[in-house]
Amino acid sequence: MFINALARDPSLESFRQEVRDFCAARIGPELRKKLDLGQHLTKEEYDGWLQALGEKGWLGGNWPREAGGQGWSAEEAAIFREETGRAGAPWLVPFGVTMVGPVIYTFGTPEQKAQHLPGILKNTTWWCQGYSEPGSGSDLASLRTRAVKGVDDDGAHYRVTGQKIWTTLAHWADWCFCLVRTDPEAKPQKGISFLLIDMKSPGITVRPIITLDMGHHVNEVFFDDVRVPAENLIGEENKGWDYAKFLLANERVGVAELGSMVRYLDQLKGVLAKTMEGGKPLSESPEFQRRVAELEVQFATLEALVADQHAAHQSAADQPSLIGAAALKIRGSELQQAILQAMTDALARHGLAYQADALMAGWNGELMGPAEMAGILAEHLHRRAATIYGGSSEIQRNIIAKGALGL
């Protein structure tokens, strides 16, 4: 009791400052403006930033040195995520560097490592995640996309047929890491394999899904008898579930997104200062003052919980417990939504006009309300998914019930 958290290492503060300085120097005024307005970035803009991080060696900073990373400690990794989040830097697109990269350097063949890791570390290849399927939802193990070893080519290829859904940025991806069913007879989790699929392969169709913010972030991906070389299999056939679980735990690292939360809170205060009621700024409204104080209490608690998790797992494995991660996921997503809701409530004073077109490059109409309004409303809508994706809040509670309470 009371002994998990340890004092932070003060020497890390110079690293923190270095990250801050880097963000300040490398995010140019044009990109800065788009980020501040919450506008959609182009693939090239992402590349500019992510490749700069790659050159600096920070993109895969928490990868082990032997895999080409910096071998960051959990604190260093946390500081990096926090500070880029605070700076409002472009999204650290996770599919390559956070998700499939560690799977490849942990379970991949030397050839797979040589082929894929450099492109991930430099962000010269883009990845997407082929997990969810229509009807599978949080019940991932029920997936039905089939991969059958060809008989005509002595098993040199799999032939993949099926459909994936909610595939973020599939429309930009060069490669897809994909869970496929290789043994339909086995128990649901036993017959799954982990395949790397070239998105240029014939037979792949990407169809956009428009979400409630009117944006195009996710897709359906159809595989129609797609030939995938057998050497693109990760590890052993039918062991894909193990690699998926490994990846899932990695995905939950930093799930609380403290850095972007600080940025949200600052943004909220900015919105309150700029939005008037009865001729006075909302920052003087008792209701909003109370709400900000409440959100800051929740933030401080989340921050303490993150520190506590780090301390508890410092000397143990690299990965935080799934239980702790589940709690962070629940609270982090709730808080994210709560701050965005507070901003939306303030901005509602401008009639909730939603100028979604203003988020596109080159738009030059007349903005209503604070300049960042359209971006914030889009973020509010988009983040309704925060309590759904990566395992819904309900699923996270099931995980804790089973794992921590023995229910």
Binding site: E287, A353, G369, A385
Partner: protein
């Protein structure tokens, strides 16, 4: 005002439900919102006129049925349930409401056009510096000859983009003048509209008025200060928005229930999970109690009971909370599918969000109640039947 009988209300409810269920639905809403310039259906508007719905709450002299806000609300609840896109509330409750309440006999003639479907209206009262506050007006209608010259800026309002006639608040004479309401043709010179969809896809506009010339007959009624009348008008709008929200939340809860009964996970329908069931129950209770609360407030307003304004504020607080919970849970319980533009859950979420904010959100109305309560003696705070008995 002749209240409809229970049977007449029942008939109205049934005929509206039959028409909207037949004609409307999420796909139709989306099509209107995205494929038409107005963002709503002109054909639909004609039908509303033919059905007599546009005249529901207008005087018989104008070809109306002399109904109350309750009758309008029955229509709006049905429209809300089916995600109708037409500017019924801005035209009927606000625009025509203002004219009916304040207009000179000559101005009242507008109401006949409204009933016929030949005049769309909107109210532009809020301004960039007003927020939800109802008494902050900076726009000025300076005297100019017999008439006025209007300058000012008004916040985005749904329906304003297509209004034939705008009702615009402005201080008469100068910045210290009384607040009057002016009838301004939407296409008048000097009116500049910034058109946009609202978050829920319904279109509207913010407006700038630059030296708009208005005749003396543009002023609704006389030169008295109209802030109290505007307050009452906005209260009617508040309650009408609640009614629309009640329709939307019932539909959101129902479509969520249907989806969860069909959708399987881990080998069972999602609706078999107890946590989901209780969530659905909470949505259901909120729907029912909000409907009851809104109806109680409608009765208070239509019967002009003392404390009706407080009943409206209470209903709005209740409705705002129910809207937030039900809209949010409709998306959440649908999972990924709730995030798509394809299914209706996301549309109900956005519609409920907009309705929640219109005319002041729950927190703002709670503040009104606090201000009123601070002046009231301890045991007289409840304005509803029993405590007032």
């Amino acid at each position: 005002m002749t209240a409809f009988s229970t049977e007449e209300r029942q008939l109205l409810s049934e005929s509206a439900e039959a028409w909207f269920a037949d004609r409307y639905g999420p796909e139709h809403s989306k099509k209107l919102s995205r494929d038409t310039e107005d963002g709503f259906g002109r054909e639909e508007w004609k039908t509303y006129a033919e059905m007599g719905w546009l005249g529901l709450a207008l005087p018989e002299a104008a070809g109306g049925s002399d109904g109350g806000l309750t009758e309008l609300s029955i229509l709006l609840a049905t429209a809300g349930k089916h995600l109708a896109m037409e500017p019924l509330l801005p035209t009927l409750v606000l625009g025509a409401g203002a004219v009916a309440q304040l207009g000179t006999p000559a101005q009242q003639e507008i109401l006949g056009k409204v009933a016929e479907g030949a005049c769309l209206m909107a109210l532009l009262h809020a301004e960039p510096a007003s927020g939800f506050a109802r008494d902050h007006v900076e726009a000025i209608a300076a005297r100019s000859g017999d008439g006025f010259k209007l300058d000012g800026a008004k916040t985005f309002a749904i329906g304003a983009h297509a209004a034939d006639l705008l009702v615009v608040s402005a201080r008469i004479g100068d910045a210290s003048g009384p607040v009057g309401l002016f009838l301004v043709p939407g296409k008048a010179e000097g009116v500049s509209l910034n058109v946009s969809p609202a978050m829920d896809g319904r279109k509207g506009a913010a407006a700038t008025f630059s030296g708009v010339s208005l005749g003396a007959d543009a002023l609704l009624g006389g030169e008295e200060d109209r802030l109290a009348a505007i307050d009452a008008l906005l209260d009617r709008g508040t309650l009408a928005a609640c009614a629309e929200a009640v329709g939307a939340m019932h539909a959101a809860a129902a479509t969520t229930l249907d989806y969860l009964k069909q959708r399987k996970q881990f080998g069972r329908a999602l609706s078999e999970f107890q946590v989901i069931q209780h969530r659905l129950v909470d949505m259901n209770i909120l729907c029912e109690e909000t409907r009851a609360a809104v109806h109680a407030a409608l009765t208070a307003v239509d019967e002009a009971r003392p404390g009706a304004a407080l009943a409206v504020a209470r209903a709005k607080v209740q409705c705002a909370r129910a809207s937030r919970f039900i809209g949010g849970q409709a998306v959440q319980l649908h999972g990924g599918m709730g995030m798509t533009d394809e299914l209706s859950a996301s549309h109900f979420y956005k519609r409920l969000s907009v309705l929640e904010a219109q005319f002041g959100d729950g927190e703002w109305h709670l503040r009104r109640l606090i201000a009123a309560g601070a002046q009231a003696p301890a045991s007289a705070a409840s304005t509803t039947g029993m405590a007032a008995g």
